[in-house]
């Protein structure tokens, strides 16, 4: 696959598809849905042009696509799929199943609102629907992070046997152009060797195994407890894998963060009065809005599952205001990110507020962010 280590000006979807092709999966299957389409169209074309050697299976639904990559993964293949919104919801039963079977699926989610009302633009409602499925859930701020996450995702999935979803904001990342470095096959290979699961862990006639058997209460809860422990423990693997990768492929960043361990990134003063917590591409806009704010910092959540509760508690401890901005609701309760944050900051004595922004592609302007900061001495949940 033609690519190099130099900066290229690419569409986000193209950056992702080039990276996935260079990771060299064995089996890809997907079903079209806006705004994921460009990614899977590119991948089909690379194969048609003889530039890639994966099996590309056209599925008749997202449910089928997810099941196809599940089967391929159980047979020892490296797999990839991508979807959005309604497609992700249609996959849901398979997503829980893949995590329960400990299969290392990797999937891109081009984040989009969920209907009704039907809407094709970006928010995080789709991702939140799979929050409890048992997947590692990573969020990208920009094209380069999206590219990096895809390589790291395979490292995590294949070493931990936990499926990984990479969330990229629909249109904002998938359809916009940015400077980005695409790692070539050689660089990736150094980090991510060819996938060869151990005999006895996948479907192979040399050692027959039973995968997906029936678990009675006595065994079921233990299996679930183990999966939860492994997902929680993966915070250490993520930090290690992230740092290792950034050493191999350092990328120029506009604003050097004060702290970044792969799970969270902090930008702002060393002792912020107000701490904004957010995920995904809106972090870029928030950084822009904070240029003239010397008492406000941004803690960007890169990994939503596992949830970096310990890091959040450390940054939240000495602030007066916690401002949680998120692109999803949990109707009838606080937003999902807010609820998770608050569960991890029992020591926090200041004012916390929850701001639901960007639903269905509703613009998040610098002005809105300034207004949110102004309102932050008042607790509660507000829509913007």
């Amino acid at each position: 696959m033609a690519s190099n280590k130099h900066n290229q000006f690419l569409e986000g979807s193209r950056a992702i598809s080039l990276t996935v092709a260079n990771i060299q999966p064995d089996v890809i299957s997907a079903y079209p849905i806006t705004p994921q389409t460009h990614i899977v169209e590119d991948l089909a074309k690379f194969q048609a042009d003889g530039q890639a050697s994966y099996e590309y299976l056209r599925a008749e639904s997202e449910f089928a696509a997810a099941s196809i990559v599940l089967g391929a993964s159980a047979a020892g293949g490296r797999v990839y799929s991508a979807t959005s919104s309604q497609g992700l919801l249609l996959m849901m039963e398979v997503l829980y199943n893949a995590a329960g079977l400990r299969l290392p699926l990797v999937m891109t989610i081009a984040n989009r609102a969920v209907g009704a009302p039907i809407n094709i633009w970006n928010d995080h409602s789709d991702a939140m629907a799979m929050r409890d499925a048992g997947w590692i859930m990573l969020f990208a701020e920009n094209h380069q992070e999206a590219v990096d996450w895809h390589v790291i995702a395979y490292k995590l999935a294949e070493s931990l046997n936990i499926p990984v979803a990479i969330n990229v904001d629909g249109f904002i990342i998938t359809h916009s152009h940015e400077n980005v470095i695409i790692p070539d096959k050689k660089t990736i290979k150094k980090y991510l060797p060819a996938y060869q699961p151990k005999l006895g862990t996948y479907l192979n006639s040399q050692q027959a195994i039973t995968l997906g058997g029936f678990f009675t209460p006595e065994h079921y809860w233990q299996e679930k407890r183990q999966a939860d422990a492994d997902l929680k423990k993966s915070v250490n693997t993520i930090t290690k894998a992230y740092r290792h990768w950034k050493k191999l492929l350092p990328s120029p960043i506009a604003l050097k963060p004060r702290f970044d361990n792969g799970l969270v990134e902090y930008c702002g003063p060393s002792q912020p009065k107000t701490l904004i917590i957010a995920m995904g591409s809106m972090s870029g806009t928030i950084k822009e809005a904070l240029r003239d704010q010397n008492q406000v910092g941004l803690l960007k959540i890169r990994s939503f599952r596992p949830f970096p509760g310990r890091d959040i508690a450390r940054f939240a401890q000495h602030c007066q205001q916690l401002v949680i901005m998120e692109k999803a609701t949990s109707s009838g309760a606080y937003g999902p990110l807010y609820s998770d944050v608050m569960a991890h900051v029992p020591q926090f004595k200041g004012v916390s507020s929850n701001h639901i922004v960007g639903l269905g592609g509703h613009d998040i302007s610098v002005k809105i962010i300034h207004n949110i900061i102004k309102s932050s001495r008042q607790a509660g949940l507000r829509f913007w």
């Binding site: 064995d26 099996e55 099941s67 047979a75 293949g77 398979v94 039973t210 997906g212 058997g213």
Partner: protein, 289 residues
């Protein structure tokens, strides 16, 4: 056990005594080689053979969900193709997973042309969840979701013609058998696996609690299904009914013998039995048995 022994499914599963499905599975297993991967849909077969940490399976075996055995098998086949492993892939599912909830996904698999043998064990109801009606439940059958009552004499829909659906997908091998004919089952499985492309076999497997028969009546019921003409032994090769399916000297038994031994049909009045006799008579014409 002699010639009926096989090493792919060990004794010790916990299916009901006299289970027709498990006898048919044994016949299927005798036709498989060690280089076969099995994909199972949710249902009686999965539940009764895999109570963790035990398993009755000696072949690589995967169960994912109720409805997705077909695309899961497609994915397995794709990975095997990429890795140049010639392993065979066989799906086992019930009629609920086949006729109803999995149908669209089966169509997708057949459309892709993946070389996978799909076997449907047809109990004519959702056995595992307690004998609810499926698209395979025949007209007149009493199930818990098509109960008989003052205003109803059982299922009011006809059994879906799954064989024709398979044939419409252009499959090179499509066959039907019943649990009373283990050698026929084994032969058909071998033939299906030797035929390139996707293939489909459905096997009528009487369900003791579902059909309300005695535990020693499974084989008798499966034999009468054939002898009455309601469930003929069929085989289509390249879309054509094969000569082995045709028997011009066939002497059909009246459907009464088949129906009245089963509790699920015991409520039927003579007029209703005549209606089912019509189905059998039509079969005899269509299939020239």
């Amino acid at each position: 056990m002699g010639k009926y022994q096989n090493h792919h499914l060990t004794p010790g599963h916990n299916a009901c005594a006299g289970c027709g499905q498990l006898s048919a599975v044994q016949a299927v297993m005798r036709a498989l080689t060690a280089d076969t991967i099995l994909v199972n849909a949710t249902g009686c077969l999965e539940v009764t053979t895999t109570a963790h940490p035990q398993s009755a399976w000696q072949l690589p075996w995967l169960h994912s969900l109720f409805e997705n055995a077909a695309p899961v098998a497609s994915g397995i086949k794709a990975a095997l193709k990429k890795k140049k492993r010639p392993t065979k892939v066989v799906i086992q599912a019930g009629d609920g997973g086949t006729y109803d909830i999995g149908l669209g996904l089966i169509s997708g698999m057949w459309e892709r042309g993946d070389e996978i043998l799909y076997i449907c064990y047809d109990t004519e109801s959702y056995s595992n969840t307690g004998i609810q009606a499926s698209g395979s439940t025949p007209w007149g059958a009493n199930t818990v979701t098509t109960p008989t009552g003052k205003n109803s004499s059982g299922a009011q829909q006809n059994k879906k013609d799954m064989m024709s659906i398979a044939l419409a997908h252009g499959l090179s091998y499509v066959a039907q058998s019943t649990a009373a004919f283990p050698d026929d089952i084994s032969n058909k499985v071998k033939k299906a696996l030797a035929t390139p492309g996707p293939s489909y076999i459905q096997i009528l497997t009487p369900c003791v609690p579902g059909w309300k028969i005695k535990t020693d009546e499974t084989i008798k019921a499966a034999r009468l299904a054939v002898q009455s003409g309601l469930y003929p032994l069929l085989e289509y090769v390249g879309g054509q009914l094969s000569a082995s399916s045709i028997n011009n000297n066939f002497q059909a038994q009246p459907v009464d013998n088949y129906l009245l031994m089963q509790g699920r049909y015991r409520h039927l009045k003579p007029k209703e039995i005549a209606q089912i006799q019509n189905i059998a008579d039509k079969n005899l014409q269509i299939y020239k048995i």
